[in-house]
Structure formats: C-alpha cells, structure tokens
Symmetry: C2
Subunit: 336 residues, 2 copies
Amino acid sequence: MSSLVDGVRAGSRRSLAKLLTIIENEREGAREALAALFPHTGRAWILGVTGAPGTGKSSLVNALAKAYRARGQTVAIIAVDPTSPFTGGAILGDRIRMRDLAGDPGVFIRSMATRGSLGGLARATREVIRVLDAAGFDRIVVETVGAGQSEVEIVRAAHTTVVVEAPGLGDDVQAIKAGILEIADVLVVNKADRPGAQNTIRALKAMLELGHPTRTARVNHHGQRMQVDTPVAEADSIWLPPVIQTVATAESAEESGVAALIDAIDAHRDHLHTAGTLEPQERERIMIELRDRLQHELMTRLLGSLPDGLLTETVRRVQARELDPRQAVAWILDAS
Amino acid sequence: MSSLVDGVRAGSRRSLAKLLTIIENEREGAREALAALFPHTGRAWILGVTGAPGTGKSSLVNALAKAYRARGQTVAIIAVDPTSPFTGGAILGDRIRMRDLAGDPGVFIRSMATRGSLGGLARATREVIRVLDAAGFDRIVVETVGAGQSEVEIVRAAHTTVVVEAPGLGDDVQAIKAGILEIADVLVVNKADRPGAQNTIRALKAMLELGHPTRTARVNHHGQRMQVDTPVAEADSIWLPPVIQTVATAESAEESGVAALIDAIDAHRDHLHTAGTLEPQERERIMIELRDRLQHELMTRLLGSLPDGLLTETVRRVQARELDPRQAVAWILDAS
C-alpha cells in the first residue's frame, strides 16, 4: 500500500487509478492510504460544475480543462453520475472527453456512479478529491448531473460552484431550480449563441438579485440555515454570482467565453481569500463531513448489532398500531 | 394528560390546540399522549400540497377545504413554512384562510414553522398529522412552501401529493423542479385562466411522459432509489399523474376545477387500493421514519456524551491535517 501512496505522490497515473479503485470499493488498505495522503491535501482548487442534462456541461468542462492546460495548470476531472449504475469505466461523456484530452499527462479523468446511496457517493467523492489533491493536481473539477439534492450533496466539497444553464431547455420550462441557484458561486449560460439566451441571462440576473440578501446564509445538511462567519454589514464580504456567457464549442478560450469563466472563478477565489471566508467554510465542510460520517457509522453499528429481522418486525408492529414510532425506536435501541 | 387525550378524541378544539402545542414544544406528556392516540390513527386521507410562492397554493387549499366541507367531510390544514421562524400563531395566509373558513367546527387550521432544522420540522409534522388523524378529521392537508428538499421531506408523510404550478411565474423561468415533479401524484396548473396556461400544461405533460417509466421508483431519505413492491409489468399498477386546471378564486367547485381535483385525488386513492401499493408504501414510510428517528437519537446521545469542545477541537485538528476524517470519527467515537 505504501508503494501505491508513493506512486501517487510521484505522479504515477497507474498508482493513482489503482488506489482510487481500492478506495471506491472500500478494499483493504483504503483507510491507511487516505491517512497517509491527507497531510498532502489542501493545495488544489476544487470546482463543482453542475447543471441539467442538455446544458452542454461536459463540453464546457472539456473546454475549461483545455484552457487551464494552456495556462500550465494540471486538471483532474471527476464525472459523478448519481443516477447511473456504471462505475470506474468509460461512459459516453468520457469517450468524447478522451478524444479531446487524451495523451495529456496533465489531465486525469475519473467517472463515479451510484454507490447504492447518495450519502455513500458523496463520501466516496470527497475521498477521491483528496487523493487527486495529494497527487498534485492544480484544479479538480467535480462535474455532476442529477436532480436537486444529489447535486447539492456532491458539490458541497467544492470551493467554487459553477451552475450551468442553457437557453430554451424544454421550451418555456426552464430547468432552473431554486436550490441550485442557492449554491451557485458562478453562473454560466452555455450555448449563448442560441435564440433566447438573452432572456435566460436576464431572468437569472433577476433571480440572483432577488436572492442577494440571503447569499451569506448557507444551508447545512440538516436543512438548517447556517450563517457563515462573515460580517454581513460589509458590502465587500458579499459575493454576487456573476453570469458568464459561453459557447463551449467555439475554437479559442476567448471566443468561447471560457477565459471569462476562468476569470470569474479566480475572482471568486480572491474574494474568499480577501473576505476571510475560506477557513470558516472549510471548517463548516469538515463539520458536515464528520457529522455525516458519525451518523453513518452509528447507524451501521446499530443495524449490525440488531437481531435478524428485528427492524422488519418492528415496522410490522408499528403498522399494526401496536407500537408508536417513539416506542419503536426505544425498543430497537434496547434490543441493540 | 389523559384528559387532553380524551378531549381530542371527543372533538374538543381546545384540547386539540393545547396538545399540539405540547407536542410541538416537546413538553412533558407529549410522548404518552402520542402513544395513547396512535392506535386511533390510520383513518384520515393525508394530502400533501406543495408549490412555489405565487402559484396560489393557499387559495387552492382553501377552495379544496370548502369543497370537502360541502361534501360533508371534515378537514384539517397544516400550513408548514420551513423558512419562517414563526410558529403556532396566525401568519398572513392563515388570516385569509380564517376569514373564509372561520367558525366551521369541521375545519381546523394549524401553522408550523421552522424548528431549527428540517429534520425536526418533518418529525414534528408527522406527529401533528397523527394527532389530527386520531382526532377524527377525514382529510388532512399538509401545505408547504419551500425549496426542494424541504418540500420532499415534509410531503413524504402524505398519501397523495399535489404539486401546484402556475403559468408565467418569472416569465420564461418556470419554478418547476425535477425533484418536485418526481413526488407529484396529481399536478395542478392553478390560475389556469391566465395567458400561457396552455403552454405550462403542455410542458408538464411532456415532462411527465418522459418520466413515466421511472414512476414506480421512489427515492428514500438517503437519496437511494427504492422500488415500491409493485408488479411493474402490469400497466394497471402504474399511475400517470393527471394535470388538472384550476382557478381557485372562481365561485363554485365545478367552475374552479376543484371538483376535478377532488376526483383526481379520489382516483389516486382508488388506484393505491387497487394496485395494492398502500400497505407497502406505509411500510416504507414507517421504515424511513424509524431510521430517521434512530439516527437522530443516536446522534443526540453521542453529542450529549462528548466532552465539551471535543467536536470543535476535532474539526480544528482535521483542518490542521493532523487527523483525517476517518481517524477523526474513530477518535470521537472512542471519546464518547
């Protein structure tokens, strides 16, 4: 295991791919490798890129990776699909990506798919990010499709969250979701050369301005609104997400708007540094992760300690109105 | 306490209001009262009504309550606002409602607001529903506003979930969210006399037909897709949510479309009975509730058993890269 860890640190793609498989499948040695790599994390800038299918999100991530490479930065892409049962292999989006980015040792692409539960996928994603961070990638892009909660869970690990929209998705039914706008640090209207783009941009700006006063409030994983430790009174500390227009399929980073997107991401990064919110946000992310892991661990231990069939039998007794839910919980905890 | 329980069972509104306050505030006696009432639950049909602000959802619930009353059924309305800190009192929507429905002993209205966390609000809502069920109300309407996850959590307790939309919300930016459509058993386009209503209806129907094959898959509270025990092969067992047009402000239930909405709700109820999905769905709801309560109880016990400041200190150590998250969790569990 320590040779794999050394390989990852030395930039071996083979070691990296092997270790990620071990971690994703919770094989022996995962825990030790993660512990060994953790002190080397904290260098990469982590981008979350999310948006509905049809927004051209994958092409945009491609273009973004190429633009970063042109600036001399290394890029790892984690493509997370909470709805797909495929894992580790090459899914369609990857093949297209491979053609564009293949052979570049400064780019690493990994697909992740459902691990049976969203919580499990979010936990695994955070660990894959850490390994890529310790492997020395400058930018880690976590790209995710999905509906609502899954995107929020998965991009929670990002420093900068980019939400991608496109004009005319489903005619007048736009796939813009309130919960998604809340997590956006940068908004992109991709396919900005299409009809209706100006309407989409105008609508997004209007929604953002409406939401402005609550921008400093974040929602934690209990759905509880948490105040980020920011002096809200200071106008400086408030980040109003810019709306960037892109045409990911254009030839150059300038024409495509990807250069402007990178500038917006850098501006957000500078903002977090200047406003002093980077550290408190990291603290909050760690707290959320620890609570999630604790909850998961406690439930796993509890369920493992219960006699076979007890949970099913308890559900039956509640359904028969023999026990109410509070009594049922006390009964289960007594039996454990 | 037993006199309050008797009062609730005998139809005393004063006892009911008092008991709900005790339960909402977790005062002494809540546990016993809930246990005493639980055997009397399971009679009411529980409706979840959700939709973005501006859809006229509250007026629709009003009109629905009046129509049920005209048919001789008693109605309890729980207005849940996960974003508001007010509780138990009269919020604006209630005052309008009061004017319409005041003085009718067959209608009971209760407002619930944030309990600090979404999980807490969802737990309290389920208990309030049970008390109203044991009090003998024929229909219990849980009305909720909110963004994404909160609506999903709260309407999970419902037998039939009604999602309300309206034409032209925010111009071409419709507040239709993928996660919300997934939970809809009946869709309502309210304000159907407004321009653009036909577009909204057409778009909703198109989205529903797209989503059709996955209608039997439900998402549990881990975000995991669960199959409801339905023989998917039988076309009978699949429910395609109807799209109902309403004008909640119209004079009669026929003119307003509310009669058609009641028919759709009844058809959904019949469908659940015929397809045999009512019992498995109740089992699933109970399982979700028990897991949620167990998780909450385990975390509460753990956090209560930790030395002061240990969690904050652990977060600091993770941030300093002294412990990785898995080691941190082991450390916390050892300290408890």
